[in-house]
Symmetry: C2
Subunit: 444 residues, 2 copies
């Protein structure tokens, strides 16, 4: 059987392990952390994530969808919190019933590792740090933290699922014609927590809570333990200038997020601000994703994106599904699969990275604009009457597997249709108006 080396046992690495386990390949997964199932506290990335169609489809293919979805909290709409604490603006994500699911990153990761490990052909090597790729030798160089030994590992296929700062990708920087960019945005984030009140959710659980305040925003997603993971996104400059000490932090929250502050509580707020620093947000694009017919960048290693479209994990999970689908089509011909995958996926990744960056603007501000709300309502209205013809952008991204680049093409077509309709309507109104005037003056 062919052998696959998976670098990283995070979300995308672990899901790939499940896919290749089922495919019957020999699977070796190298992960620098200890086994997260045995860790008390897992440092690093955000605590919960929004699972939508693309992620669900991938989980379904390895038999995990229903189990995972059951353990999450469904969200049917965005609920906008005004500065006075009122929530007058509720924006459904799609048609009644359409939803995304708030899930716990760690739990999801654990379930996938356990699932993969049930297969005899899968081995996890924890505390093994992937250091780099030697393209001349065609091997991955891994450091065993337990023995300080350096291992040279090799397989028929090498999947770099080692995250936004991928060591494999760094070794490929001088690969001919490798285009790459990494961009940090001006915003950082801090995660807070809203605890249950009288053993109940302190806020409505089945919505995505949003406090947009122009250049900074708070969001809150429910967890099954009735807490809410609550995240403040703000420019680093603002963290420095307006949240530099305890007094300022409280003052800032009192002014802009009085209702959220009430639920978070002053002591907990200050404890967090004194313990952690704002985290950075990075956007990574590269092309190609495949190298030398053998190495493939996947997930954040290929396309880290800002979190404002909720597609980072979903896109990474879809990577695994797309790879599996193309392997099927190509009858396990690795070189051909990688070529096809890279051509197709680079374009889609580029598109969703750009959409996420665009939504970075939208979440901050647009949601409160009349024109934006009107278009949203209009799109959902058309969608209701023409469910197959008119699908809003957000719905195509979130509730379908339409390739991301096609989503944008369809949106352009929609914009064109609307512009023309608007022009025709204006013309009709003008002509109608002229006739009325003419009639009024009895010109005919």
């Amino acid at each position: 059987m062919p052998k696959v080396i998976i670098c990283g046992a995070g979300l995308v690495g672990a899901l790939n392990a499940c896919f290749f386990a089922r495919r019957g390949w020999d699977v070796e997964v190298y992960e620098f952390r200890d086994d997260i199932r045995q860790m008390e506290h897992v440092p690093g990335r955000s605590i919960n994530l929004a699972l939508s169609c693309r992620g669900k489809s991938a989980l379904e293919a390895v038999g995990l969808k229903d189990y995972i979805v059951e353990q999450g909290v469904k969200m049917y709409a965005r609920l906008v919190h005004n500065q006075d604490g009122k929530t007058t603006n509720r924006q459904p994500y799609g048609q009644p019933g359409e939803h995304i699911v708030s899930i716990n990153r760690r739990h999801l990761n654990e379930v996938m590792i356990t699932q993969a490990e049930e297969y005899d052909n899968v081995k996890f090597f924890f505390q093994h740090k992937v250091r780099r790729m030697d393209m001349k030798l065609g091997v991955v160089i891994v450091e065993n933290f337990l023995t300080a030994e350096e291992l040279f590992v090799n397989g028929d296929l090498i999947l770099a699922c080692d995250g936004a700062h991928s060591a494999i990708r760094r070794s490929l920087m001088a690969f001919p014609q490798f285009n790459f960019s990494q961009e940090y945005i001006k915003h950082g984030y801090i995660e807070l927590n809203i605890l249950p009140k009288d053993d109940k959710f302190a806020l409505e659980p089945n919505v995505f809570h949003l406090w947009p305040r122009g250049d900074f925003t708070v969001i809150a997603l429910a967890n099954t333990d009735k807490t809410f993971t609550t995240t403040l996104f703000a420019p680093f400059e603002l963290f420095e200038k307006r949240m530099g000490n305890d007094k300022d932090v409280v003052q800032f929250f009192s002014e802009y997020f009085p209702d959220a502050l009430k639920h978070i509580g002053e002591p907990a707020l200050l404890e967090t601000f004194n313990r952690v620093k704002p985290q950075t947000l990075i956007s990574v694009k590269c092309e190609p994703h495949a190298f030398a017919g053998k190495v493939l960048l996947m997930g954040d290693a290929a396309h880290a994106m800002v979190p404002f479209y909720g597609q980072g994990m979903n896109c990474g999970f879809e990577d695994c599904l797309v790879l599996s689908e193309i392997l099927d089509q190509c009858k396990d011909d690795v070189a051909l699969t990688l070529k096809t995958y890279s051509t197709q996926r680079c374009r889609d990744a580029r598109t969703i990275i750009d959409l996420a960056m665009y939504n970075y603007q939208e979440l901050k501000d647009l949601v409160n604009r009349k024109s934006y709300k009107l278009r949203k309502k209009f799109d959902l209205f058309l969608n209701k009457w023409m469910p197959n013809t008119w699908v809003p952008l957000y719905s195509m991204v979130t509730f379908t597997r339409t390739p991301y680049h096609e989503v944008v093409e369809i949106r352009k077509w929609q914009d064109q249709v609307l512009r023309r309709t608007f022009n025709v309507t204006l013309l009709a109104a003008a002509v109608g108006g002229a006739f009325s005037v003419a009639k009024h003056f009895k010109l005919f």
Copy 2:
């Protein structure tokens, strides 16, 4: 005295060594090649370069300008070669007398190393490869090729002049908020040679020869030995499809560059095509250029650009001059200097990288468009009558030290003036026309 570690003894590293030698600092330069003064053949980058004002100013500051300029060939204009071999289109670079200088890369590099070595406070370490920077320890890790030893070197200031694929920069990829992009263009290049004819230049020496053919181009620059370094730029795809074998190569040159082919000669052309592959062209942007108040990226390590504005070396040389100027202003306060330098230079580097990419289009095609030629003539005309008020874009970049970002702002202002003038002229013509018509029909 403070100590500076210079990574790389290429053009920018060697010039920095001259600057810091004169400043009286202790200077250590680490270079992975052997001493090029003792090498028979130096592999790698292109053979000659166009020196203009920014480069000259930097050389002047270390007392090398006159010596270097004397050893180059002056170029006063672009001379466009048509497909029929005729040269009907001559575009002066500026006012009569204004010129750029074609110089030999290797000679220039050798002169600077020799100049720097005359100072007791300068040491060159050849065959010492800079491997990486350890930011925690604050040291540069260098491998001595002669002993296979790994050295940890340190200084008050570390200058990464280690080129477009900088190892120092690669170690900084995970530095917080480091924005970076590298982009290969679709074009590659192959260098050819036109030999002297009867011990004379085969073509007019004091112009930049240009054979623009839409998506591919040949250029030729004279050398003091009466040869011409002749470069074909073309899409990699075209190299594959149209120049895959001897017959096709000759056919291609006969069709598009008959006059150049005559001078190059078929045997020499084929010898080159069989020996070398087309080289890639990369554009690198990053921000910041300075790290931890101690490390500075300079030259191609900070801003590799496509060669179509002839500013790569000039910008790198100006880096050295700007650093020296800011060190003077800041009285050798390294941390303050680096902060000031990075803020100022990132913006300018970004601008010239973009301009070079824009000129990539221009050189390929625009030079043959009427509108382009007209604007060029018009700019030079205005410049002649208002030399201080109206300086064409190319002249500002090439013949002044106006910061690159200001150059673009000034150009935008010029465009605005022209647009308004054009509108006023149109209006005047329209009004004039109306009056004539009115007069004709004796309406007054």
